[in-house]
């Protein structure tokens, strides 16, 4: 039998707005409108300030560990491509997308302050709590997308994860389910080059992270993750594809973590200062501002006003988060289940006494939990 090529693969890379703020007009057609770019720029700037303040809250003992988002704010453009009914299933470096999709800004602070109410997403906001364990939530996204499909809802699930997460089994299981079942699911890998201190070169031998989706039958592409136009277009196209053809997309957003992994990390210990400098020049804020300035949509005055506004907003958010009345420890039962399972009811009822069986009155409780 002669040898023949039975599969050909290619991965497209898309950049629309380059580092100097220059736009590829052709690719940009039908994409972000200037009003949206303005909105995104303001929003990303507020997120940047939020990030800096959150970092300082940890350093001054006002908050627990916090992972900085700095440098990855362009991911917020996904939210502009989404509709309200779409779901966001995040890890922890997508603040910009979550806030735009309706998550109150104090929720993230509350989460990192160890307050369960930080994970309590308001009714009508389709976002799952941020997921700290790496990769576990991609399966939830596949499940949510499956539910959307079964309910015939006109919505998709966007899930976000890092480059390191693609080395987890869950990533592959989620991709396999989503593609095989033709689920409206969009996988967005924020490749920020580092999985804590593990560089991309030690993470995978794959030339791109995008191509990891090919074997599952997903549409795969790599975009400049610091380019709001590319992020928006990729998300919008993927959304349409998911709904129209039932074909999931894996988007590799090529970006960089300008900060440390978390406040418990010091990236200077393992990263080259030159690499950081190079990436600072590719900052999504800088190039979006350059674009707006070139179009005469931005000025130093507007920048000043924006900075004051950001400060005012974030100060208020911090005040709200710190001012919230102390939680009780009963709330651990409150926000996970719509209807508490019997076993959990028993745990709740005996939480304030000793372990089960050590006190006679618990037998009564146990019986009542069983409905005896």
């Amino acid at each position: 039998m002669p040898t023949k090529v039975i599969y050909n693969a290619k991965i497209n890379q898309i950049q629309i707005l380059d580092e100097n703020g220059k736009l590829d007009e052709k690719l940009a057609r039908g994409g972000l409108k200037d009003a949206q770019v303005l909105k995104l720029y303001e929003h990303m700037s507020i997120c940047r300030h939020y990030d800096e303040v959150a970092f300082k809250l940890q350093r001054s003992g006002r908050m627990g560990t916090y992972p900085q988002n700095m440098g990855q704010e362009a991911i917020g453009a996904v939210a502009l491509a989404a509709i309200r009914a779409d779901w966001m299933v995040p890890c922890y470096r997508e603040n910009a997308a979550l806030f735009l999709h309706g998550l109150p800004m104090e929720k993230i602070l509350l989460h990192w302050m160890g307050d369960e109410r930080g994970n309590q997403i308001p009714e009508g906001v389709n976002i799952t709590p941020i997921s700290i364990p790496i990769g576990t939530h991609m399966l939830h996204a596949a499940g949510i997308a499956w539910a959307l499909k079964l309910r015939k809802e006109d919505a998709v699930a966007f899930t976000f994860f890092g480059d390191g997460a693609t080395s987890e089994g869950d990533f592959h299981e989620a991709m396999n389910f989503a593609c095989t079942l033709k689920l409206p699911c969009v996988f967005i890998c924020q490749n920020n080059q580092w999985a804590i201190s593990v560089p991309r070169s030690k993470q995978t031998a794959s030339e791109t992270f995008a191509q990891k989706g090919l074997a599952y039958g997903a549409e795969c592409l790599q975009i400049d993750g610091n380019d709001v136009f590319a992020v928006y277009k990729a998300a919008k196209d993927a959304r349409a594809r998911a709904l129209k053809d039932g074909k999931p997309t894996l988007i590799e957003a090529y970006t960089y973590r300008l900060g440390d992994h978390t406040t418990a990390d010091d990236a200077r210990r393992y990263r080259d200062a030159k690499e950081l400098e190079m990436w600072r020049l590719r900052d999504p804020l800088i190039r979006t501002r350059k674009y707006l300035e070139a179009k005469d949509l931005w000025s130093d005055d507007k920048q000043k006003t924006l900075e004051a506004k950001a400060k005012e907003i974030v100060t208020k958010v911090v005040k709200n988060a710190e001012g919230i009345e102390k939680p009780t420890n009963d709330d651990i039962f409150d926000h996970t289940f719509a209807e508490l399972p019997e076993e959990i009811i028993r745990q709740r009822d005996t939480m304030h006494t000793h372990s089960l069986g050590q006190r006679p009155e618990q037998e009564t409780l146990r019986a009542s939990a069983r409905g005896v």
Partner: protein, 466 residues
């Protein structure tokens, strides 16, 4: 949540700067007392075992006081900065008092801090605690810690490990080469001092501690030693550096409490008969004779039957040494602090000889002219706490010994004797043992035997072994 918060809004407590961080080295202050700061302004640069971090101010205000020196290890939970009060009652309090109130931990902290500071100061004299970011050595936190403990400036070492990493071996090589300057207190000379001591077969092989002038022992009635320079503090209190004799005593006692598992058995000996013998002996010899030589003699005899109490522990080698001879340490209160002179081979001495030794030791100790070897090598310690007051005590073992006897104040008391009531002379005894080496029953039996011997004083007059 992110860690302890002061109840006083004017006190900023050092938070956990990472995840599970307990301490951080203060690299550089970025503010001075009197400076006005905004919320989020940087107060200090600090280095944890993971990261060099900037510590921002949690609030706006004026800096009243900085707690800690550059180069010092600061503990999470202790005050870092005190702000001037913005009105209200708290502001009117003296600052130091306010700080102490807000953080009761400060009262217990010094001992801990000193210990750490002692190891870190050496580090600093080599590199004056600034801008260590440049030319920063690559090393794991564990190796950094070792360097810190050995007083080695890790950034000055050329690493031999992968990618120029500084390895543990590199650090130790520098430390052994004696390169780093170090203000660390000199280690007590251990082995040499021991070799100079009289070479007896029976000499305890443990003598790791240099039982210097200020050996630890019973934690009883120890005075605050002089020597430190008192610094003024709030409310007429004095701050005295934990140094010299006081520090040595503290370290020995700490070591004992941290290592030996203490238990104490207590009982009284009815010594009416002994009192009689004591008076006779004194009259016959024309010397002053106290109870103590009788107790020493009784202890020597009891230890022959309970050799596990006449022992020392070598924790490093995990070995117990039972000693053939009995060298009794006598815990003595001096104006310079606690001292434990030794009666060597006390088991070869009669009561009168023991008494003479005690008198002699007391004189030498008082005059501070006691030779070093007379302060070393005890195998069991007796503390005469009853000279002042107190019946029973929980004495601290003179580690690495395994037992100590505290002798209380003799008193007259009602004794039930064969169904009749009479007045007897009662001597309270408290025997503390290291439970790792001595079982409870064994300790109790030994104390019972000591009491029994004290009640038959005639037998005590002659030496146990000739």
């Amino acid at each position: 949540m992110a860690g302890a918060k002061s109840t006083d809004p004017n006190v900023f407590i050092l938070p956990d700067l990472g995840e599970g961080v307990h301490e951080a080295e203060l690299i550089k202050w970025r503010v001075n007392p009197g400076d006005t700061v905004e919320e989020h302004d940087i107060l200090a640069e600090m280095e944890t075992d993971k990261a060099l971090v900037e510590v921002p101010s949690p609030r706006a205000g004026t800096i009243a006081q900085l707690h800690g020196e550059e180069g010092e290890i600061c503990h999470v939970g202790n005050p870092l900065v005190t702000y001037e009060g913005g009105g209200g009652e708290k502001a009117k309090q003296p600052r130091a008092e306010g700080a102490a109130k807000a953080a009761p931990k400060t009262e217990t902290a010094p001992e801990e801090e000193r210990e750490d500071a002692g190891t870190v100061v050496g580090n600093l004299s080599a590199s004056p605690g600034v801008s260590r970011t440049e030319g920063k050595a690559l090393a794991t936190p564990a190796v950094r810690r070792i360097a810190r403990d050995l007083g080695v400036d890790i950034d000055s070492i050329e690493g031999s490990g992968m990618g120029g990493r500084v390895t543990e071996r590199d650090v130790r090589a520098v430390a052994e080469g004696g390169a780093p300057s170090s203000r660390r207190e000199p280690e007590p000379e251990r082995a040499p001092a021991r070799r100079e001591a009289p070479d007896r077969e029976t000499e305890p092989r443990h003598t790791q501690r240099q039982v210097a002038e200020e050996t630890s022992s019973a934690a009883l009635a120890v005075k605050i030693a002089g020597g430190g320079v008192p610094a003024p503090a709030a409310g007429g209190s004095q701050r005295i550096p934990f140094r010299g004799t006081r520090r040595t005593i503290a370290k020995r006692l700490r070591e004992s409490m941290d290592t030996a598992v203490h238990f104490t058995v207590m009982d009284e000996a009815e010594i009416s008969a002994l009192d009689g013998v004591r008076k006779q002996t004194a009259a016959a010899s024309g010397e002053k004779v106290s109870y103590l030589p009788f107790v020493v003699s009784a202890v020597c005899r009891a230890l022959k039957e309970f050799p596990s109490l006449n022992a020392t522990v070598d924790d490093e080698k995990e070995e117990i040494t039972r000693h053939a001879a009995v060298h009794i340490g006598v815990a003595t209160d001096t104006e310079h602090g606690l001292s434990v002179p030794v009666i060597p081979d006390a088991d070869t001495l009669g009561v009168l000889e023991v008494g003479r030794h005690i008198t002699e030791l007391a004189r030498l100790t008082r005059e501070r002219s006691i030779p070093r070897e007379r302060l070393m090598g005890s195998t069991f310690t007796i503390s005469n706490v009853g000279s002042y007051a107190g019946r029973f005590a929980t004495p601290v073992i003179n580690y690495p010994e395994v037992a100590i006897l505290a002798v209380g104040r003799m008193r007259e008391g009602v004794v039930a004797d064969n169904g009749a009531i009479r007045v007897g002379k009662l001597l309270p005894l408290s025997l503390a043992c290291d439970h790792r080496v001595v079982d409870g029953a064994e300790g109790a039996r030994c104390l019972a035997r000591i009491i029994e011997l004290l009640q038959r004083p005639q037998e005590l007059l002659t030496p146990v072994r000739g």
